[in-house]
Amino acid sequence: MSSWQERLEERTLDPARSTPRNYWLVVGALAAVIAWALYAYFVQVRDGLVVTGMRDRISWGLYITMFVFFIGISHAGTLISAILRVANATWRTPVTRMAEFITAVALMTGALFVIVDLGRPDRFLNVLIHGRWQSPIVWDVTAVTTYLTASLLYLYLPMIPDLAFFRDRLTGSVSKWQSGLYRILAINWKGTDTQKRQLHSSISIMMILIIPIAVSVHTVVSWIFAMTLREAWNSAIFGFFFVAGAIFSGIATLIIMMALLRRVYRLEEYITQKHFQYLGFLMAAMAGVMLYANISEYVTAGFKLEEGAEFIFRQLFVAEFAPYFWFYIVAGILAPIVLIFIPRMRTIGGIVAAAVLVDLAMFVERYFIVVTGLRAPLLPYEPANYTPTWVEWSITAGGFAFFALLVTVFVRIFPIMAVYEMAEEREELAAERLSLESDGALTGEAGL
């Protein structure tokens, strides 16, 4: 028992104590990509958005895709730590921290791309000074800011005991600013009964509060599109569709992140096949939901084929965007279901492969939703085309690098697993077993 806890503690302390192999190489590479993206952004600010592939008729492109995609994957944390916590699924505990990291970092990345997309980033504060409640953009700014605040808190609260643990164990062996950081962030946690009670209650409040906030966030993201008079976006299920896609891609990102961190920081004992399998099932279930949403969306519009709908269907199903669309349906929704439901494929490798497919497909989906909606001509003119330029690709790559760099750095400094919670749950489980045994309820299993 104590050896289990000691092992867990050592494992969690490891990243903060010793630099893993290739760490600086990874940080350097990511920083280089970000530096290049900053140069591209400098060019964009200097010359204007004319350096992108966007024009009057397709006036949103990769940047808005990035915004939608990253705000989407930020739903990983909410699902794993809030929804599953409410459902009392204790298997999720070792991966909660990672999920919450993803949430916070993905939100920062996504929010950044709204500003990247602006023609006048210097006037961004106008949204606060002259904001109008009627505008979906203001709904978004409000919802994303609230969600970022809430998810940072929700990342922080359960981490307090672990930070105190880091403070107690690492002071002296890490740099001064780092131990100072732990000391401040641990806000005098001593593990007294009062503190524990208060912590539990705070977490309970946040975990309920964060679910409606998360749902609202991707709903209003979809409303940026659905509130315009565009045939392709004119859908009442858009909010639901976006939230489902957000959770879907959030799970996929978590699976990929779990596989990477598990390998790098040797967490095989805590993040097991079981975690991949459970999350894989959840992902497959969400794939089913996505399939259903797609059918609802396209059958209702496609059956009637109102004016303008034909163009949208043609470009999506058989013409310019057909490769994207069918990749999304076949590789992003059907293939993961198959991979996860055939027992022989349900290995960690198979599930990670499915997750990679899902993330790729969801990125592609966000892209074609944005671009096809704008591409449908409003008046008799030739439909425009959109090809992202090197500036857009560079800044997009920079966005991914920013995400990866923040995760890399966070994971090195902060406790990678919820040690306190894991230990607590294990104790509870043991106590439960003990009481059951003393009641004689488990006598039948005694032989096992």
Binding site: D56, W60, G119, R132, T142, Q198, T228, R230, P380, Y381
Partner: protein
Amino acid sequence: MVATAQPPKRRQWLGHAALVLLMSTTVTAFLAWGVNPLFVLLTTVSVLASVPLVAARVSMSKDSRREWKTWLFADGVRSVDRRTALRLFGVAAVFGAVSPTVPKLAQKALAQGTPDVGELPPRARTRQWTMIIDLRRCDGCQSIELPPQCTTACIEGHFAPEPMQWIEVYEHELPGHGTRFVPTPCQQCQNPPCVNVCPVGATFSAPEGPVLIDQNRCIGCRICMAACPYDRRFFNWGEPPIPADAGRAEYDLELQVPAYKGTVMKCDFCPDMVRSGTLPYCIQGCPHRAIYYGDLEEDLATNGRELVSVSRYLANNDAFLLKEELGTQPRVYYIPGHGEDIGRDPTHEGFLPIRWPWTRLAEGSATWSR
């Protein structure tokens, strides 16, 4: 005050947190309604921040809690003493007194966000500008073998950056065969989708009907371009290709000169021209006098040569609106036709491409594709 029976300690602080949350959310809802989002953002942050703050505070002071705060979550008996009851009644009374003002606050919230365009001169009635385009007299300027002259005149008059065509001629297919030309300015909707979605109130409905843009406020998010169902909004993707001298003018919202990089532009119904008693450039440019400009209030419109009663002209000639079914309520009316009044055969298709006449462009500017 002597504490007689200590309330059960369990979850006492939850009372604090819940009260703080409840109060601040309610206060936010009342105060922030109609103010600006900054306030709501700050309050939201503070509401959320109050959770750990309360936790931290309580963990520091062990027995500073009072009985009345625990009533919410105390186990067992929920006894409320007289003092508590009074306080609760007080809170309820405040909210009760405030609630009748909610409709007023809502009105204020819906009216906000329109920039101050200066006091209107006192007048018996406000003009309601409108445009009638008689398609029976439009041949896309085929007969004079020039590019559409409405567009050309507009570009020259407004220094419109290349490749913007604030009034643009589209060639619509006719049932059967052949085409007709539809000069399309901004429709100056009375339920404008672009104004509805603008996050900063940079685009707004002027009292006389036209939708204008304040390029000094626009943040370039382009949601108005996504929202406009008539493709009538244009973005300055780069340094605007306007004549060099236009760049030196002092900015005027009604002229949209000079154009600013990273902001949206469009047809503005020439408010400055109309004030000085002149017809908009497109009307002056039209060689066949196909475009009328007028005032719905006075029920008069003119193409520069003849004066018509708007209501009678529309009714007698089967006027229609572009995409009327969208509910945007345009201020631009069309009379159906394909240039027959000036002898155009509908099977005669095509018109000459527009050219921008600037010889010397503003520094660092270059055109872009549509």
